[in-house]
């Protein structure tokens, strides 16, 4: 009898202690698709507490890296061609070849599996891997190597009939179009596309979607549609396919008088918004910081162009675009030629409750051959990392009416600590948009202890638009074409980043 009881107790103990903790991880609704020269593969991920995670053993098999678990230290080491990544459980960071890289969420262990945030791939594995790793979460793409994956946006300009629509491929990429009775098939000469749709059923268009091949866009037409006409044009490093779809019947179309047949000339990226759905206002205020000013000239080019002039000029152009296109309040940290202290600039953005800060600069180098735009975001030192770790623990202060209110106490100079992840995302978006319009530097995204950014209490990046110490770049930077291209790129980046803000701030 005693032996049976003891056996049952041991069995129960084994059940309690031996069973893995109840996994709260759920498979992500859509897996990532890895695109490389070797083809495409599905990469499963899981979501846990709103964060998307990937299993370490999947990374090992996909990227052929060596993973060694250090059970004593509670972590693991990844080795690839003599370089290592060292990470520990429950830490939102990793040591990548001796350099600390932050992650948006901690590394966790679920049963026997190690799970890391998907951002681990570009941020930690990317620097030691011999091919570029680019994560495009919105498109669910993981690009390995130099892949041609242009962004493809679609919009309906006028529901008609005739329905007028446009498909814009950027950067400019050749496209072949096949017109079929019920659909248009656009085959883009690329490894894949990053789609910015769907477009809901509008006019004679039923849908715009990715086809059965990753580089194919299908515009599905409804039964009333006639034969579509298309025209391809390339401008501003984008290929634009204009589509006009008449009614199938010969009778003249009766346009709906309630809907204008020609829409207002909205910027292209705006039109990817679904009709009838107003986005939540995650971006209400934008701060633009024209670098230098007054006696602080910045870089002075051999031909006379001064950094302080260029930054103010482009800041004003960007302000115009944003105010007209987005209806967002814009703060300029200076709107004339005067010297403004760095803390004063940060204060203007922080006190103005800006949701985003773009600091504009022009570069200088010791070598005249240096050229191309670069985007910087802040790098935390140890103190900053500590602030970031403590940021979650807000201080509860009593309020007059009773109860408590959580107050975040963050040193002014450490304000950026809580936004580094978002700033990294912003830097990536800005770089992608700039790349389509202006030459980029060899290391287009860089991290450093940037003085202004560290004090910014919002996602913030510093953009070095061109090297004024390069004769050709100086000449280009002084022209309207360059200034407008930079302003348009930054505008597009703001629109895209607004989507990220809305996504991350959604309840």
């Amino acid at each position: 009898m005693m032996a049976r009881k003891r056996g049952a107790f041991v069995a129960l103990l084994c059940l309690v202690l031996g069973a893995p903790p109840q996994a709260q991880d759920t498979p992500a609704p859509t897996p990532l698709t890895l695109v490389s020269k070797d083809g495409r593969r599905t990469v499963p991920t899981v979501t846990s507490n709103g964060r998307e995670l990937i299993a370490l053993d999947d990374i090992a098999s996909l990227f052929q890296v060596t993973v060694r678990e250090d059970s004593l230290a509670g972590g693991f080491t990844i080795t690839y061609r003599g370089k290592t990544i060292i990470a520990s459980a429950d830490q939102p960071m990793a040591s990548v070849d001796g350099r600390i890289v932050t992650l948006p969420s901690p590394i966790t262990r679920s049963g026997r599996r190690w799970l890391v945030p998907v951002e681990f791939l570009p941020r930690a594995l990317g620097p030691i891997y011999d091919q570029r790793i680019d994560l495009r979460r919105a498109a669910r793409l993981l690009l390995v190597g130099d892949m041609r994956v242009p962004r493809v946006s679609a919009r309906v300009d006028a529901p008609g009939p005739p329905t007028r629509a446009a498909v814009v491929i950027s950067p400019a990429t050749p496209v072949a179009i096949v017109t079929e009775p019920t659909r248009l098939v656009l085959r883009v000469e690329a490894d894949a596309i990053e789609p910015i749709f769907p477009v809901s059923a509008t006019g004679l268009i039923d849908s715009v979607r990715v086809g059965d091949q990753p580089n194919v866009v299908v515009v599905a037409l409804n039964r009333q549609a006639g034969t579509a006409r298309t025209a391809i044009a390339t401008a501003d490093n984008a290929t634009r396919v204009a589509i006009e779809i008449p009614m199938a019947e010969a009778r003249p179309a009766v346009p709906d008088s309630r809907i204008p047949t020609t829409g207002p000339p909205l910027p292209t990226t705006e039109s990817s918004r679904l009709p009838g759905i107003e986005p939540r206002q995650a971006l209400q205020t934008l701060a633009i910081d024209p670098g230098h000013g007054g006696d602080e000239i910045g870089v002075r080019a051999a031909g006379g162009l001064e950094e302080k002039q260029l930054t103010l000029d482009i800041a004003r152009r960007l302000r115009g675009l944003v105010e007209r296109g987005l209806g967002v309040r814009v703060i300029l940290t200076r709107d004339d030629d005067r010297m403004v202290g760095i803390d004063e600039r940060a204060a203007a953005a922080n006190n103005g409750k800006a949701d985003l800060l773009l600091s504009l600069h022009a570069n200088g180098a010791l070598s005249g051959s240096s050229s191309g735009a670069e985007v910087f975001y802040d790098r935390l030192d140890r103190e900053g990392e500590a602030v970031r770790a403590a940021a979650a623990a807000a201080v509860a202060l009593p309020v007059i009416a009773g109860g408590t209110r959580n107050i975040d106490i963050v040193p002014w100079e450490m304000a950026q600590a809580r936004h580094v992840e978002a700033s990294a995302m912003l830097a990536s978006v800005v770089e992608q948009e700039l790349r389509q319009r202006v030459p980029m530097g060899q290391r287009p995204i860089q991290q450093g202890p940037m003085r202004l950014l560290s004090a910014a209490n919002m996602p913030a990046v510093l953009v070095e638009m061109a090297y004024l110490t390069n004769g050709a770049q100086e000449k280009a930077a002084g022209g309207d074409q360059f200034k407008n291209a930079v302003a348009q790129a930054l505008y597009s980046a703001i629109v895209r980043f607004r989507g990220y803000l809305e996504e991350t701030s959604a309840p």
């Binding site: 001796g98 230098h292 910045g298 870089v299 010791l366 051959s369 450093g448 003085r451 510093l462």
Partner: protein, 195 residues
């Protein structure tokens, strides 16, 4: 053997032993005389050198390149730091470029017990700087890396200009706090040597 003969034999043995002892004294070296005589005199300090890794801009001005150079040896960490920076501030060897503005002088150098070095630079580092975020990073980390790489006792470097803490050197990079070395700016595989 008679008693007289024994006396002669004893005298011959004693004489032979005496001659042998005398010959050994003359021809064999003295066992305890060598050490003091062969101590090499220390080399004069002005000719002693260490090989230090210094940092210069790559020819395209986009990265730091480690270059091994001879630096006069010193007897203390502080003096060695001064010597290292003294050479670091000199002209860059070909084909590299000097990322520290011309004319910049080392006003003071000292090390705290916490392993933080204070590098006090002349105002030329600000007034003669060409500007630009990347170039500013290269200027700062050429100095920080040169100190932290060669002086194991130093973990972080606080830059001063004309004896005071400053926000930035050229308007971008935060130098208000002590900085650790940064390997990300260093272009790998070019640890070339030069004298």
């Amino acid at each position: 053997m008679s008693g007289r003969a024994k006396i002669y034999l004893l005298a011959i043995v004693v004489a032979a032993a005496g001659v042998t002892w005398a010959l050994m004294r003359i021809f064999l070296p003295k066992p305890s005389a060598a050490p003091a005589a062969t101590v090499t005199a220390p080399a004069p300090t002005e000719t002693a050198h260490i090989t230090a890794t210094l940092y210069y801009g790559s020819s395209d001005g986009r990265a730091l390149v480690p270059v091994r150079r001879d630096v006069p040896a010193a007897t203390s960490v502080v003096d060695q730091g001064r010597q290292i920076l003294g050479v670091q501030f000199q002209d860059a060897p070909q084909p590299y470029v000097q990322v520290i503005p011309k004319g910049t002088k080392l006003r003071a150098f000292y090390v705290t017990e916490r392993g933080e070095a204070f590098v006090d630079l002349s105002g030329d580092v600000v007034s003669a700087h060409p500007g630009g975020s990347l170039t500013e990073l290269l200027t700062i980390y050429a100095i920080v890396n040169a100190v932290t790489t060669n002086l194991p006792a130093v973990q972080r470097v606080q830059l001063l200009v004309e004896g005071k803490e400053v926000d930035t050197i050229a308007g971008h990079v935060d130098v208000r706090r002590p900085l650790e070395g940064d390997a990300t700016l260093v272009r790998e595989g070019r640890a070339g040597g030069t004298k």
